[in-house]
């Protein structure tokens, strides 16, 4: 699968700041870091807290377990 990219402009000072912040971390790429932070901020879903009560969540997990989707 070929990835497609596009360019955006950032103040160089901000770029350097991010560069310093990610240096020596698991992924020292500035672009990856920016993409990750932006995705986090865009993300609306991801949590089931508001969907299931704790009892309902257990019920659903048990069913998914019985169905073989999770172990």
């Amino acid at each position: 699968m070929k990835k497609e990219f596009t360019a955006v402009s950032l103040p160089t000072s901000l770029y350097r700041e991010i560069e310093d912040a990610v240096r020596g971390t698991a992924d020292p790429s500035v672009a990856n870091y920016i993409a990750k932070v932006l995705r986090e901020s865009l993300k609306k879903g991801g949590s089931t807290e508001e969907v299931f009560s704790p009892e309902d969540e257990e019920k659903v997990k048990d069913r998914l377990k019985a169905l073989g989707y999770i172990d």
Binding site: G24, P28, R63
Partner: protein, 455 residues
């Protein structure tokens, strides 16, 4: 807008629908007048995300959905379950709604909570129970229950009484089609889509009775024809529904992935222990859950989850709470582990066709909580068992109870357009489905859908 009816047959493989088509007169009629073929499903080929990849035309990475459950951030023991709320991309029914059309959606996973749609929606099998609000609009629930009683989302599964499971599957399907007929007659629609989960359930419960190549198959067993008989029943039901769907309606019968025999369950965490990647703090009880087992994180590099495919997580310094893999070593460690996973052999030393996926490299745009590695043991013939304490890495049966079938990467589709009848075989990709439906209905295809509409 033209009308499109999508008949979702969860998990139906081409090996049954096409190879035994003479036994299913209705589906066969669609095949003989339509385009048909295999459909390469999503990665992973699991109900969630597959139906949503199909309906949005976006891959699982873009949806940020890698199965039913996901690890919550870089934690050791927190997870979240995908629901309808987790879908952030527009589906075909959203696009149809924006264009002024109406949709009727019945049990398309995930559809709990029943989010608003231009039209009607009924929840799927992740609905906790019939006591919940499981329809949109809310009043639809009372309207349906008054006529048909409580809706059946699923059947109680993995109970040893197979005859009971079979009865319940028939009861569920019978009820669903009553509701489908009613909705088809009384509600306006441009898109009418439902998913019959009974197909998946009957296959998981009866595959070893049906498939002569299954290691637990017994000739002459009482359930030998259970799967095919159920398909015949569903075929008749589809026939009756088609009589009400309208002569000019485009019909798409489709599965979200295929199914095939399960060869066994591979205990991924037992293997990681043997490899020295996972170190426990205490000996596990037989069948112990990894989340409830004490782990010596200071000496653990990786652990895994079970399911139809394995998810592997690495214990990375600065990411996991007690991570030990140095960030600079991450890629090297991950590749070395991927290589070892690819070289795993079966119980008799036979080579496996194992596929290992690095989500952040594999998907165009991997979002959300993906694992470090996704593993299809022996092309999915071996499911992944995350539980511990079995004293072996190879289980003949599923660790969480009987389950005779696994998922196959390829599902099937039949597209029948009464205006252009022709029996043409063409294999497609799951991302081709949304553009195909939009074209059939007469709407423009959004530029960010990568699939190609079938002509």
């Amino acid at each position: 807008m033209r009308k499109v009816l999508i008949i979702g047959l969860d998990s139906a493989p081409a090996e049954i629908v096409f190879d035994r088509r003479k036994e299913f007169p209705v589906l066969n009629r669609l095949i003989e007048g339509g385009r048909f073929g295999t459909m390469r499903s999503s990665d992973p080929p699991i109900t969630i995300p597959a139906w949503m990849v199909m309906s949005t035309g976006k891959d699982a990475g873009r949806l940020g959905l890698y199965g039913f459950r996901h690890r919550t951030g870089p934690t050791y023991d927190k997870m979240w379950i995908a629901t309808a709320q987790s879908i952030n991309e527009p589906a075909i029914w959203d696009i149809i709604g924006q264009a002024g059309g109406q949709s009727v959606l019945v049990s398309v996973p995930p559809s709990y909570p029943a989010r608003p749609v231009a039209g009607q929606r009924i929840g799927c099998f992740i609905t906790p129970g019939a006591d919940k609000d499981y329809t949109y609009p809310k009043e639809l629930k009372a309207e349906l229950e008054e006529k048909f009683g409580p809706y059946m989302f699923d059947v109680p599964f993995r109970i040893e009484n197979r005859a009971e499971i079979l009865r319940e599957i028939y009861r569920m399907t019978e009820k669903r089609f009553e509701v489908l007929h009613y909705l088809m007659r009384t509600k306006p629609w441009n898109l009418f889509m439902f998913v019959e989960i009974g197909v998946d359930r009957v296959q998981h419960a009866f595959w070893k009775f049906h498939d002569k190549t299954h290691h637990l198959y017994e000739p002459g067993n009482a359930f030998e024809t259970a799967i095919i008989d159920y398909y015949k029943f569903v075929d008749q039901k589809i026939g009756a529904l088609l009589n009400e769907a309208g002569d000019d309606t485009v019909v798409l019968a489709i599965s979200d992935h295929g199914a095939k025999r399960m060869k066994g369950a591979f205990c991924v965490n037992e293997w990681l222990i043997a490899q020295g990647d996972l170190v426990l703090g205490a000996a596990p009880a037989r069948g112990a859950n990894i989340e409830k087992t004490p782990i010596d994180w200071a000496r653990t590099k990786a652990w895994g989850w079970g399911g139809y495919y394995a998810r592997i997580f690495l214990n990375v310094e600065g990411r996991e709470p007690k991570g030990i893999i140095k960030p600079a070593d991450y890629e090297r460690e991950r590749e070395a582990l991927a290589e070892r996973l690819r070289s795993i052999r079966g119980p008799a030393g036979e080579p496996w066709a194992t596929q290992v996926i690095k989500p952040n490299e594999y998907y165009d745009d991997a979002r959300g909580d993906y694992p470090d590695l996704m593993v299809y043991f022996d092309d999915l013939y071996w499911r992944s068992a995350g539980t511990l304490g079995w004293g072996t890495m190879y289980l003949e049966e599923n660790d969480t109870g009987p389950d005779d079938a696994v998922h196959a990467q390829h599902g099937m589709y039949i597209l029948y357009d009464p205006r252009s009848k022709a029996s043409v075989r063409k294999d497609i990709d799951i991302t081709d489905v949304a553009p195909t439906v939009l074209r059939a209905i007469g709407l423009p295809i959004p530029a960010d859908m990568k699939g190609t509409p079938l002509r």
